[in-house]
Amino acid sequence: MAGLTRADVEHVAYLARLGLTEAELDRLEGQLNHILDQYAKLAELDTSAIPPTAQTIELENILRDDVVTPSLAVADVLGNAPARSGDFVVVPPILGGDAS
């Protein structure tokens, strides 16, 4: 199985939105490749005719009754927000300076 290069590790970290230090990237390159080597064992098995299992109990299409129930109090939910303005959570700008 092809190994992860340093550039791959940096790319995956970016996809995962993990800001990693140079030292962390160095360590992860070795560790992730060591773990990926273990994955190679699965290639020994012919699974072409085997269906995947996503969950182990046969529950399907579980829907709740369509009735109105109380939601959490706004104060309780907003109490954890790092930045708020009135009854709103302040989020970082996502459209950039020019668009605002």
Binding site: L72, D76, P82, P92
Partner: protein, 531 residues
């Protein structure tokens, strides 16, 4: 330490319940003893992240009033009290308790206050149980030693230089050290059973879907399950009975009845043991893995001998895909974790970094890079890679197919009529701090005997079966889906036939040192070992 000075802490939960009903002890008395031990020994053990003295005593007084009312009303009112009324319990710090912290062992949830109670918190409060506090754990339940907690490691009460296992190591240590008779853990790959084994107590992972996970911090949603830790099987069964069952707020909790047999396990050891006559057990040969410690294998083989001597048959069976469990698990679990942990973005709650310049991606990178620990980052990286474009079929889909094969192994064996499988819980006894921290794969192998059970969604229980080099060994019993009642009946039977074994009643050797204020903290032990 003299027996008198341990107060009520050595009682089992069911013994505490009897004494509460007779009026021999008060709940305030029980909880005061529990608090005294937990507070005094936490310096040396770091089993607890929160000990909520005020709330626990207030809840104890409520329980005492209910007990007094019931005694006035008569025998029927005493009979109808919940089995857990007034009994102290510790919750792993990923169970939401409204208004309290819920860190999941992570810096990224530092300062977060749960806005609601978890389903199991509601159930325990409804039962009148007293929540003593929140226990330490590997960050987001990722680990087998509790060394991956952002709040420092936990010591094993049997040897303070060793880990209690993980990820539910805090609950296991608190129960093994007699702080509380009941602990709640979660088990994604062995995180209840392995620490149960390493601390010499009972730990049950129920069938996937048995207990609602509403209000529990998620790790890997197709594997996670909540379960009990206790010092005997009857207590573990009673705690499961109290929290199990369908809850519409968790669509994966199953509408399967919870049998009352769980609270009717025989009190008599002799009666319990006779159940084994004529029962059939399978011994999966693949679970005696390479690298298993000889002392562990000897204790497990001796347990098998005792089960046979009690009139059961034990036949060797094969679960041929066992060896593929580790790779399957370490694709499925990190993949699901990488999705579940995407929610920690520093916007709505938790650790948050807002940099100058208004680049929201930079904010995410800083928030998550600073908030997560090394093991969590490793798993997020593995999961993100395994799910990324071009690799999904090779990793995640492949692992899901092998998952089918592993599940079929169990199905085929149980179709042959075995009542349960017997196996080791962990290939080793409790290991020293630092022993597996440098090599993630060595740490992952700690769960080689437990994680196939999660992959297949089955119930498994670890019960003490002896000592190796003075440290506890766990015997794992594995049953078909929804078989908790007979599985715990089997575990109770094993407890019955080994009631007089010399290793029963041996107290954890580290407790005397844990009582002394000058004893180093677990973090200090780790630092000393690193030099």
């Amino acid at each position: 330490m003299s027996a008198a000075s341990t107060g009520t802490t050595r009682l089992f939960g069911h013994e505490m319940a009897e004494r509460l009903r007779s009026g021999e002890v008060s709940c305030r008395g029980l909880v005061t003893d529990a608090l005294e031990f937990a507070e005094r020994q936490n310096h040396a053990l770091n089993a607890w992240l929160v000990i909520d003295r005020e709330r626990a005593l207030a809840d104890a007084d409520v329980a005492d009033r209910r007990l007094a009312e019931a005694r006035r009303a008569g025998a029927w009112a005493i009979e109808s009290l919940h089995p857990l009324l007034g009994l102290p319990v510790g919750l792993k710090d990923l169970v939401s308790v409204r208004g309290g912290q819920c860190t999941a062992g992570s810096r990224i949830l530092e300062g977060y206050r749960a806005p609601y109670d978890a389903h199991i918190t509601e159930r325990l409060r409804g039962a009148g149980a007293v929540i003593l506090g929140k226990t330490n754990m590997d960050e987001f339940a990722m680990g087998s030693s509790t060394e991956h907690s952002a709040y420092g490691p936990t010591s094993n009460p049997w040897d303070l230089d060793r880990v209690p296992g993980g990820s539910s190591g805090g609950s296991a240590a608190a129960v093994a050290a007699y702080h509380v008779p009941f602990g709640i853990g979660t088990d994604t790959g062995g995180s209840i059973r392995q620490p149960g084994a390493l601390t010499g107590i009972v730990g049950l992972k129920p069938t996937y879907g048995r207990v609602s996970r509403y209000g529990i911090v998620a790790f890997a949603s197709s594997l996670d399950q909540i379960g009990p830790l206790a010092r005997d099987v009857r207590d573990a069964a009673a705690l499961l009975h109290a929290v199990a069952g369908r809850d519409e707020r968790d669509s994966t909790s199953a509408p399967i009845p919870v049998p009352d047999d769980l609270i009717r396990l025989p009190a008599s050891d002799d009666e319990a043991g006779t159940w084994l006559e004529g029962k059939r057990f399978g011994l999966p040969k693949e679970y005696f893995v390479a690298g298993m410690e000889p002392g562990v294998e000897a204790a497990v083989r001796a347990a098998v001998g005792a089960i046979e001597a009690a009139g059961a048959t034990v036949d060797e069976v094969s679960l041929p895909h066992t060896d593929y469990g580790l790779a399957t698990y370490y694709i499925v679990a990190p993949a699901e974790a990488s999705a579940n942990l995407a929610r920690y973005d520093g916007v709505r709650y938790g650790h948050s970094v807002r940099l100058e310049g208004g680049d929201f991606i930079a904010d995410y990178l800083a928030t998550r890079g600073g908030g997560f620990g090394a093991e969590v980052k490793r798993r997020i990286m593995l999961g993100t890679y395994a799910l990324s474009a071009g690799y999904y079929d090779a990793f995640y889909l492949k692992a899901q197919k092998v998952r089918t094969l592993i599940k079929r192994d169990f199905d085929l064996v149980f179709e042959r009529g075995f009542d349960a499988l017997v196996a080791p819980t962990s290939p080793s006894v409790a290991f020293r701090f630092g022993a597996r921290m440098a090599d993630p794969v060595a740490m992952y192998l700690s769960d080689a005997c437990t994680l196939p059970v999660n992959i297949a969604g089955l119930p498994g229980v670890s019960i003490p079966c002896g000592l190796s080099e003075g440290l506890p060994v766990g015997l794992q019993l594995i049953g078909p889906a929804w078989s908790e009642a007979p599985l715990l009946r089997a575990a109770r039977a094993y407890e019955g036939i080994t009631a007089d074994a010399p290793w029963r009643g041996v107290e954890p050797a580290g407790l005397a040192a844990a009582d002394i204020p000058a004893t180093p903290t677990p973090a200090e032990r780790v630092a000393a070992g690193a030099h």
